[in-house]
């Protein structure tokens, strides 16, 4: 193993046998299958996975549900035995495949801290030394001697995270566990992860929170249906993944539309400044939204509207031709309404568009399509968040000497 490698996986594969409904074969079922010559189907959770994590690096594994992300992590952690290949690691591994795994509901929080710590291979003295720290981090001072069966799920998870990260492992494996806990605790967790990175520890984590991946990872591995399909810098791999996810998602979008149908909205396309149709735009570029319509008969004074939501479902922006003071006398037959956002002030993420057409006085809804169209925005800078506010910075000295200067003095 090379000096600077923390985890090295070679040709790693895990095969499962699909036994259908017969999870555990009965003798009868086995004989029947033998007689009929039925062989169980095989299923590779992950195959031919070769990757490495360098010391001090943070690597994220992303991909759709059931792609093999957790299996990969389980193989590295050693809970799953590989069918093929090997995985080696250097240094102490703490795996957070599940927070509070091994907690026993009858034991108190205190006893569980020791039990959990010993499962992770932490010496008792270390735990005793850091016990107050652990409990403080979890914020459970008052409840630590209560059986964990009475804990809320948040308390449970907090204690689990506190134990596992307090132990100072060389490698930390995390499986989608940061999605739990309240906002305050999540911030604490991410702070912990930053600390780990600063100490030069290696992290490998699985998550669906792509913004976290982009923020924390040096490298991203994309896993799709059991294969590593891409790896590299976060921005590129995430963009690739989200585009693929979009195609998939499109077919599944629930069609929610209504209206009289006097005007039907037929298709929406997103185009860049070169009129190129795209799904992913970079922040600050030009976005044209073209809404094709068809008016079956002459319609007087129609209004075309739209609204944009983030993938969280937050309503980010809504507008229409009426608000914009654009009076359309009448429409008849096919046409296109173009809405242009230039520069695009959305920063990063996955956005959902609704479009509508209604009468000037809002009394008749001609056609409305809810949450039907999606586009993605990626950012090259390393700001955070979903919108781009284009901040300006200025440093002002307010010590006495500068206050005496009559810079903006009108008196």
């Amino acid at each position: 193993m090379k000096q600077n490698i923390a985890i090295e996986a070679e040709n790693l594969g895990k095969r499962y046998w699909m036994r259908g409904a017969q999870e555990n074969p009965t003798l009868f079922g086995m004989i029947r299958n033998k007689v009929k010559g039925i062989k169980p189907k095989e299923f590779w959770a992950i195959r031919e996975a070769t990757f490495s994590v360098q010391k001090g690096q943070t690597v994220g594994i992303i991909g759709p549900n059931g792609a093999g992300k957790s299996s990969t992590l389980g193989l590295v952690a050693g809970t799953i035995t590989p069918t093929t290949g090997t995985v080696r690691s250097e240094g102490r591994i703490a795996s957070l495949l599940e927070l509070g795994a091994g907690f026993h509901s009858d034991l108190s929080g205190r006893e569980n801290v020791y039990l959990n710590a010993s499962l992770l291979g932490i010496p008792r003295e270390d735990v005793t030394k850091r016990f107050d720290h652990i409990v403080g981090f979890a914020g459970l001072e008052e409840f630590i001697d209560m059986p964990v069966r009475n804990y809320s799920s948040g308390m449970y998870v907090r204690l689990g995270f506190a134990v596992a990260t307090e132990v100072n492992p060389d490698i930390l494996l995390i499986d989608e566990v940061l999605a739990v806990g309240d906002a305050d605790f999540q911030a604490k967790c991410l702070g912990r992860i930053r600390d780990f990175q600063k100490k030069g520890k290696s992290l490998l984590f699985v998550t669906h929170a792509l913004d976290t991946v982009e923020e924390y990872c040096h490298e991203v591995i994309l896993v799709e249906s059991g294969n590593i399909t891409d790896r590299g810098i976060p921005e590129r791999v995430i963009a690739k993944y989200t585009e693929a996810a979009l195609d998939e998602h499109k077919e599944n979008l629930a069609e929610d539309e209504h209206g009289t149908g006097d005007i039907t909205l037929k298709n929406v396309t997103f185009r860049d400044e070169n009129e190129q149709e795209r799904e992913t735009f970079s922040s600050g570029s030009c976005l044209h939204i073209d809404i094709e319509y068809m008016a079956k008969k002459r319609v007087e004074n129609p209004v075309f509207g739209y609204s944009i939501k983030s993938h969280h479902g937050w309503h980010l922006f809504g507008g229409n031709t009426q608000i914009a003071d654009i009076k359309i006398d009448s429409v008849e037959g096919p046409g296109v309404v173009r809405i242009t956002m230039d520069p695009l002030v959305l920063r990063y993420g996955h956005f959902i568009l609704s479009v509508s057409s209604h009468s000037w006085d809002h009394s008749v809804q001609y056609h409305r399509i809810e949450d039907q169209y999606e586009f993605f925005v990626s950012a090259k800078d390393i700001h955070e968040g979903i919108i781009q506010l284009n901040p300006q910075y200025e440093l002002r000295d307010i010590s006495d000497s500068s206050a005496e200067k009559p810079a903006s003095d009108k008196s």
Partner: protein
Amino acid sequence: MIREIAAHRELVSNLVRRELKSRYKGSVLGMAWSFFTPLALAAIYYFFFKYLVARGAPGESIIIGVFGWNFTAICMNNGMMSITGNSNLIKKVAFPRFLIPFSVCVSGLVDYAISLVIQFILVGVLLALAGKMLSGWCLLLPLLAFHHFILNLSFSLLLSACNVYYRDTMHLVNIFITAFFFMSPAMYDWNFIVESSGSHPWIANLALMNPLAPILIGYRSLILPGPEYAFPWMTSSIIGLLLPYIMLAFSYFMFQRMQRNFADLV
């Protein structure tokens, strides 16, 4: 194996504590059950044999036998369920799997050690009533208890692994345990075996090859005075004494082979 246990001794001690605490949590009598159960069983067997079959062994002999039997039965039962019952641990945490059934057996041993104290008092009183004394050999009890532990561990390892692959194990073992109880000299003693085998001494020889038989007979010869409890040193009893170590080696080997797939099956 020993090296791994030593490396994880804190984990073992925590698992044992967890096992013991959870076993009696919420019960009023708590740890008292660890001797109350075999005691009640011993009382039942005593009366039934004495008055129904009119051919009972002395009370103290039955107590010793049933307490010893109970240790094995608990390790077999709890050990068998130990892997399947801890699926969350198996799936989510990496550590040597055999520590789970091992811890179950250690907690059984702790329980047994406590119950031995009660058993001592009881047997002492019963002997005193008959004007007799405990045998001085009883100082060697810990050695025999350890030997007994090895046997239980070998059962526990094998059954826990088998039960992951085939839940049939559970049902088979229920039957087997009942048969095993009658095959082992728990509620009868060595003399009873000799008498019943009569002109067929091979039956007695066969009975001694049951690895639990020399253990239960051994307990009696260590605790109880008198020539009628002398240990039958024979080829078959020595085979019976060596068997647990061979079984342990086999069970451990099988367990390590089978544990590769535990996470997929539990």
